[in-house]
């Protein structure tokens, strides 16, 4: 696989089509974490000899006890944090998008300007930026709210702007850190459905952190459960459900079975 940590080239990036990572042209890993060690000042060892591969085009859900290092893992993948030992290879920053637990929009910008923000650092003309932002907002169902400011929006709408902002650069790797945890159940399920469709359509690689077993099963095609610190992989399993997942799948026996397996793994992870 190619390790892409070179500096960013604006012109080369501009013309990437709406497709994320093409499985055929790069069939290996989208993220490769090898023997990584990360300890914080004060002595807490979060990762030691930790390895994990994420295949291109995969939707990986990561679960684990609070404080086990899930967010740290995401920050390491994004290059926002550095390991003390081991290697991490992933897409370059230009191809990574990151979504936080809260929307973290710029309150002084309206929805359209917020969604267009990442494009402003790539030498793209204003007209084109607005076009791309409009498309991204349309994708998350926010065409009617483009002129509104974040403080006029509900929590769910803000999160969708955040998602549109992440997708506007047409990333190859989408990292989400418990993005819908602060939302009510119905809004969350609705956004889960949108995200799943988005992934199906664009075939990008997604790493998704969550506390919810049912959310993990609904969204992902692979789930990894981590133990308490130092984090080990307790379970690494493919979610055995069809790729097309209508909302009704949540009521099926298979769904319940998958959820139970992961739940049991979570309990084992707590016990370590």
């Amino acid at each position: 696989m190619t390790v892409l940590r070179h500096s960013y080239n604006a012109k080369a990036m501009d013309r990437i089509q709406w497709r994320g990572l093409d499985r055929a042209e790069n069939s290996s890993s989208a993220v490769r974490i090898e023997s990584v060690r990360r300890a914080f000042a004060g002595g807490a060892v979060v990762f030691d000899q930790f390895s994990l591969d994420v295949a291109a085009g995969e939707f990986l859900a990561i679960l684990g006890p609070s404080g086990c290092g899930k967010s740290t893992l995401l920050r390491l993948i994004a290059g926002l944090d550095q390991p003390q030992a081991g290697t991490i290879s992933a897409a370059t920053r230009d191809h990574i998008a990151y979504v936080f637990q809260d929307a973290h929009l710029l309150p002084w910008r309206n929805v359209l300007q917020n969604a267009a923000l990442p494009l402003e650092f790539r030498g793209i003309s204003k007209a084109e930026r607005q076009d791309l932002a409009r498309n991204a907002l349309e994708m998350v169902g926010l065409s009617d709210a483009m002129q509104q400011y974040p403080n006029q929006l509900s929590g769910g709408m803000r999160m969708r702007v955040s998602l549109a902002r992440a997708m506007v650069t047409q990333p190859r790797l989408l990292l989400l850190d418990e993005p819908f945890a602060a939302l009510d159940e119905i809004t969350r399920q609705h956004l889960d459905e949108q995200l799943h469709q988005l992934w199906q359509r664009t075939k990008l690689t997604v790493v998704f952190i969550t506390h919810s077993t049912s959310e993990a099963v609904f969204l992902a095609n692979r789930a990894v459960v981590l133990s308490r610190r130092p984090a080990r992989i307790v379970v690494d399993k493919l979610i055995d459900l069809p790729i097309d997942r209508p909302a009704s799948i949540r009521g099926s026996t298979e769904f319940a079975e998958q959820t139970r397996t992961i739940y049991q793994a979570l309990e084992r992870g707590e016990a370590v």
């Binding site: 994004a78 926002l80 920053r93 973290h104 710029l106 309150p107 002084w108 650092f121 400011y149 403080n151």
Partner: protein, 253 residues
């Protein structure tokens, strides 16, 4: 009407109490003039008072602008480097603690007796709250947004313009509000000292002269004008703040 009625009523209440006190205690004019006497002084001397007000307004306004530009610049500069901050910030506190009445004569000797030294005095008095608030604002941006800008590979200038400065705006306006009043104080105090030397112009100069002649009604007229000037400056800052923040900040909604 609902907005201006409460302050107007409060003002009338104070004036009535004032009038009643003077009227019933027969306190001497030079200790406390009656409201009518002050009003009369305002009307009779309106030409000279307006000229004085103009000078003081010019000095305070220029001092405020100077303090704002200097204060925001220093605050932004200090926010960029921890080393710079540790080296310089403690000394900016000098501006806040300096007894302005003591150094005003010195400023006068250094710069010369005239409006420029009055402006400098106003700057010295009003610059610190702008520095301190700008610095706090620049340093309290959302860490998640800082991370996001790192992922965007944003340069330092872009980070400044698109993230830190807008985030700092509410705090900067807080600093400017404090500075508006202080600039008038700085200008009037400087004029006290200027008056001793050249004997002309601004409200501060006039207040010193009137006090010496025990014409307290004239002095009161000047004080009222100086306060009004401070309020006007504050009003301009509030208006600017409203225009800049109304769409997105809780303080202006």
């Amino acid at each position: 009407m609902k907005k201006i009625a409460p302050p107007l009523l409060a003002f009338m209440f104070v004036v009535i109490i004032w009038w009643a006190y003077v009227h019933f205690t027969h306190v001497a004019d030079y200790l406390l003039p009656s409201p009518q006497a002050v009003l009369q002084a305002l009307i009779v001397n309106r030409a000279e008072l307006l000229e004085s007000l103009g000078w003081t307004a010019l000095a305070a306004g220029a001092g405020f602008l100077g303090g704002a530009v200097l204060g925001i610049s220093i605050g932004v500069l200090l926010s960029t480097s921890a080393v710079l901050r540790r080296a310089i910030y403690p000394y900016t506190i000098f501006f806040q603690t300096v007894p302005i009445i003591a150094i005003a004569p010195m400023l006068l000797f250094w710069i010369g007796a005239g409006i420029s030294s009055v402006i400098v005095c106003a700057i010295v008095v009003c610059v610190f709250p702008v520095i301190a608030n700008t610095l706090v604002g620049m340093r309290s941006t959302d860490p998640a947004l800082e991370d996001l800008f790192t992922l965007y590979v944003a340069g330092p200038i872009e980070r400044m313009w698109k993230l830190r400065l807008p985030s700092a705006l509410p705090a900067i306006f807080t600093g400017l509000r404090v500075a508006a009043g202080l600039a008038v104080i700085g200008a009037v105090v400087a004029e006290f000292v200027v008056g001793l030397i050249v004997g002309s112009v601004g409200l501060g100069v006039r207040i010193v002269g009137d006090s010496k002649k025990a014409s307290t009604d004239d002095a009161f007229a000047c004080i009222i004008l100086a306060s009004t000037l401070g309020l006007a400056l504050l009003g301009i800052v509030n208006l600017a703040s409203h225009i800049a923040l109304r769409r997105w900040h809780a303080s202006e909604r």
